[in-house]
């Protein structure tokens, strides 16, 4: 799964959601799709976490060179 891009995963997730919402899948298939969907969701979520962490590290390492807090969602500041 690691090689699949974030956007592709998100697209797949969207497709799965639509397929499930159509309600025409047999249970096992639906279950399988659902599982896949959960995995994709998790993958996407982790990918975002990872990316965010990377950005934080980048910004911390380069602090002072670049504006220190370029993007401040309220919750993030609590994490720091």
């Amino acid at each position: 799964m690691a090689k699949i891009s974030f956007e592709k995963s998100l697209k797949q997730l969207e497709q799965i959601v639509q397929e499930l919402e159509s309600g025409n899948l047999p249970l096992e298939k639906a279950m399988q799709k659902f599982e896949e969907g959960v995995k994709l969701s998790k993958f996407c979520s982790e990918k975002l976490d990872e990316t965010e962490k990377k950005i934080s590290v980048l910004l911390r390492d380069n602090k002072g060179d670049i504006t220190e807090e370029p993007f401040m969602p309220e919750n993030e500041t609590e994490d720091d």
Binding site: L10, L20, L27, G37, L48, E52, P70, P73
Partner: protein, 448 residues
């Protein structure tokens, strides 16, 4: 011509332009003529008219100059003089202001001057192409002049005032009289000898104070002119007063009106240079910092725009949440749907459980049971009634039924033979007599 395009001068304007035109066209001119209408007011200046056969011109010689005249100045005298054209605006007059005058008879010296000037000029000694530029900041200044007198001191003072530490070398010469020409020529010889050495000066000032045309003779000599021309180092001439023009002046790379002016021309103000240098250095630093600051602000501007992708990430998070929500909802919807279907089906199943069968079958079985019982009952009843009918008919046919009517039957004992004939029995023999309600045991007593 229309009113608009027509240039209309005021008198002052026109006069001013004419003055400029005249004075610039004729800065200094040699002129000859005859003196007339001479007047000498209290001021001591000479006012007169110079004329020839066809024309006349107003002329002035101020007191400072006319005091030096060594001949009697009077009407009718023919003279040669050096002067400049001047226009006196308040009156619109033009006149020539003489700096130098001599009687026409003495004009030989002047003639020689003019001749030499013309010859050297034709030879090209005055040509601009031979004129060397003066150094901007000379390393060393050589002054050829009389070691005595005010001139040398003035020059040194001015040089030192302007640039304290410029080295000066002086080649003392006689500037008039016998030997002056030789000494000056020798001085240039020395300069040329030293020209290639390290110690060499890089500009020469040939200087002398003011004097009569006779006093300046050495500087009008061909020898000096050629020496100047041959100088390997640029020469600035500073001879006499502002109005004194000599051959040397024409040959020199630059003419200074006076020795003091020469000093000013060749030596820049050290302060100015130093200030200029410092200023430039200051600018240099300011500029480079400006450049860096400018680049810094550009960099900051761009860097500030380098928005990290976290905003996108937020959007993506919302999207993922939405999808996940819908995913889970859809999942539960599917489960609900299937469960509902299953429940309905199961209910149908239970509604159609074989209880329905067993109930019916129970009823049928019960009925059959009833039938079974009743059939056997009826059967037995039939049998019993048949038996009873037969038994009743049998009863009706009982041979001993007559007994009820009083008949009796006598039988032997134990053979039970019906006694129909007395012969069949013996007296004393026991017999059984059957009667209606039982039987009697009797003994034969007699026969009949």
């Amino acid at each position: 011509m229309s009113q608009n395009t027509r240039k209309i001068y005021t008198v002052s304007e026109l006069t001013s332009e004419i003055k400029t035109l005249l004075e610039e066209s004729f800065p200094f001119v040699w002129i000859s003529g005859e003196i007339s209408n001479l007047s000498t007011p209290v001021s001591g200046h000479f006012y007169f008219t110079l004329k020839d056969e066809n024309a006349q011109i107003r002329a002035v010689m101020f007191r400072g100059q006319n005091k030096k005249l060594k001949f009697i100045f009077e009407d009718g005298l023919s003279i040669i003089g050096l002067g400049r054209i001047n226009l006196y605006e308040p009156r619109g007059n033009y006149q020539i202001i003489f700096e130098y005058l001599e009687p026409k008879g003495i004009g030989a010296l002047q003639l020689g001057f003019e001749k030499l000037k013309k010859r050297l000029s034709e030879e090209g000694l005055f040509d601009d192409k031979y004129k060397s530029p003066l150094p901007f900041l000379p390393n060393k200044i050589c002054i050829i002049t009389s070691p005595t007198g005010a001139v040398i001191h003035d020059i040194i003072d001015i040089i030192h005032r302007r640039f304290y530490n410029i080295p000066i070398e002086i080649i003392p010469v006689k500037v008039q009289g016998d030997g002056a020409i030789q000494e000056i020529v020798s001085a240039f010889d020395m300069i040329n000898t030293l020209a290639d050495s390290k110690k060499s000066a890089d500009v020469v000032v040939l200087a002398r104070g003011g004097g009569s045309i006779e006093d300046l003779a050495a500087f009008n000599s061909e020898e000096v002119a050629r020496a100047i021309f041959a100088s390997k180092i640029p020469v600035i001439s500073a001879i006499g007063h502002e109005t004194d023009y000599t051959i040397s002046d024409f040959v020199a790379d630059l003419r200074a009106p006076t020795p003091s002016a020469a000093a000013e021309l060749i030596v820049p103000l050290k302060n100015e240079l130093k200030n200029r240098c410092d200023e430039l250095f200051k600018y240099l630093i300011a500029r480079i910092y400006n450049n860096i600051e400018k680049l810094n602000s550009i960099l900051n501007g761009i860097s500030n725009r380098l928005v990290d992708p976290r905003k996108n990430i937020q959007d993506f998070r919302l999207k993922i949440d939405d999808y996940t929500d819908r995913l889970i909802k859809a999942k539960y919807n599917i489960l609900d749907k299937w469960r509902a279907q299953l429940i309905w089906m199961s209910r149908s199943l239970y509604a159609n459980s074989p209880y329905k069968h067993t109930n019916n079958l129970n009823i049928i079985l019960k009925q059959l049971n009833g039938n079974l019982l009743s059939s056997i009952g009826i059967y037995l009843q039939n049998m019993r009634s048949m038996t009873i009918v037969l038994a009743s008919r049998l009863n009706d046919l009982s041979p001993i039924a007559i007994l009820d009517r009083g008949y009796s039957i006598t039988r032997t004992i134990p053979d039970a033979v019906v006694v129909r004939d007395p012969k069949m029995v013996k007296i004393g023999q026991d017999l059984e007599v059957m009667i209606a309600k039982g039987s009697l045991i009797c003994r034969v007593e007699g026969k009949s």
